[in-house]
Amino acid sequence: MAAICFNNISKTFKTGFKRTSILSGLSFEIKQGEVFGFLGPNGAGKSTSIKLLLNFIRPDYGSIIISGFKVGTDKFRHLTGYLPETPCFYENLTGMEHLSFAGKSSGINKVLLNKKSLDILEKLNLEKAGNNLVRTYSKGMKQRLGLAMALIHDPEIYILDEPMSGLDPMGRRLITSIILNLREKGKTVFFSSHILNDIERTCDQIGILNKGKLLYCGPVENMPENNSGMEDAFVSLIEKDDMITNE
């Protein structure tokens, strides 16, 4: 059974009287235990896809299935962990309180929760800041706290929106190692990024999105024109597509 399955998804946004199409006929599948990198230039529709995945917005057309549950009707949120792009927190709560909310809402019992929270904070180098208000956190710390909230209930599927954006090399390495760790444990990771290096190192499969259409979906090695490195392959793929659509 596929962990995540997009079936012919289309989405348009209304801006004034005009409708702009963000996604058109998007279909792909992520198998269980895969690390899937979702690539694309800015405005390609990556964030929209992820919001659809979490039911923050609804597709005009098509359906998304996560582990056999239909997004929008079934309840399966305990199965997924989500890290938003530049996560925002309640500034007047501490990191621990956020984790406690995250854990309790996902149905973890109190006794276990405290130990788990401390473990995760340690893993993410946040153990000292756990009892500080989020207001005092740096951007990197917030990103890590966001990840901690995605990890706390030990879900099967991780949805990470630009997990590396705005992080220093240390932070990026930490997150990369966590993703690799999750892969070892056989979890499914779906993350979007535009930093190609990270993707090359961690992903089993990638999907390349441009202007709402999937240009490529498959292993990194099989990318067309992959002889001179992934970056060139990515750029030539996007440029080709832009030329076609502009004509």
Binding site: F56, R77, C88
Partner: protein, 269 residues
């Protein structure tokens, strides 16, 4: 239920640590000192004035909490996308709305309790300083009853604020609509009385009909206003008060279910 509690808990905790809240409570306390000073300027019925002022201050602070604090709390959740952290967990939008409402209402309750006690103290002080001027029939039970009803009307306003924030796309629009609802709710009855008293309009003329229609949609906040009753120690009718309380609670219920219904359809892009 548990999840509503969780959302309420983080909302309450986040708000209670907000410095703006202290500012509002401080404002309330300053006004109470002002109350004592003003009461001293009165030659007649100083006790009545103290009761009036005290209750008005509670109401005023509560309204500020709603207009500036609660609306901001929800709309910043939506626009800063803090709401993603909540909705990406096994928490539905209905849980979110009810949790937010409960959390913010707890803040209102807390402010009513704190300021209510302050009001009681300032009223007591004014009675002590001018003891012969205790309003005829003044009773503490009516005083606290009046605080209770005032709080119910604040909770109604809170429900309307939550409704408008969830329905509109801009915080400012929500603020204006809430403010508008407040004024309509407060003056609907008066306006009707004025229109009828001029005798220019009959009961089935258009303006009166329009107001009658509005009175089915907007809450009649004047019904919750027991300030005068408390200040003069007028007799209260228990069954009427019970109906009024029921009216308020059911109104909150209707508004919140509608809010959930609409919010569930809203896309959080």
């Amino acid at each position: 239920m548990n999840k509503i509690g969780l959302v309420a808990w983080i909302t309450f905790k986040d708000c209670i640590r907000n410095k703006a809240l202290y500012g509002i409570i401080l404002l309330g306390l300053v006004l109470f000192f002002f109350n004592i000073i003003i009461t001293g300027m009165f030659s007649w019925e100083a006790g009545k004035v103290a009761v009036d002022m005290g209750l008005s201050i509670i109401s005023f602070s509560g309204l500020i909490l709603i207009f500036f604090f609660s609306i901001n709390s929800i709309s910043s959740d939506i626009y800063n996308r803090t709401i993603y952290l909540i909705l990406s967990r096994p928490v539905s939008k209905a849980h979110y709305i009810l949790g937010k409402y409960t959390g913010l209402s707890l803040i209102i309750l807390l402010s009513s309790i704190i300021l209510g006690l302050c009001a009681a103290v300032s009223v007591k002080l004014s009675f002590l300083s001018v003891d012969r001027q205790i309003p005829f029939n003044f009773s503490w039970s009516i005083f606290f009853l009046s605080i209770l009803f005032l709080t119910i009307s604040l909770l109604i306003m809170m429900a309307l604020a939550v409704f408008w924030v969830s329905v509109t796309t801009h915080q400012f629009t929500a603020l204006l609509l809430t403010l508008g609802s407040y004024f309509v709710g407060q003056s609907m009855e008066n306006v009707k009385n004025i229109i009828l008293s001029t005798k220019l309009f009959t009961n089935d003329s258009l303006p009166v009909k329009v107001i009658s229609c509005v009175s089915w949609i907007m809450p009649n906040l004047a019904a919750f206003d027991l300030k005068t009753t408390a200040a003069y120690g007028l007799p209260v009718n228990a069954s009427i008060l019970l109906w009024v309380a029921l009216y308020g609670i059911s109104y909150i219920g209707v508004v919140l279910t509608l809010t959930i219904f609409i919010f569930q359809r809203r896309e959080l892009a």
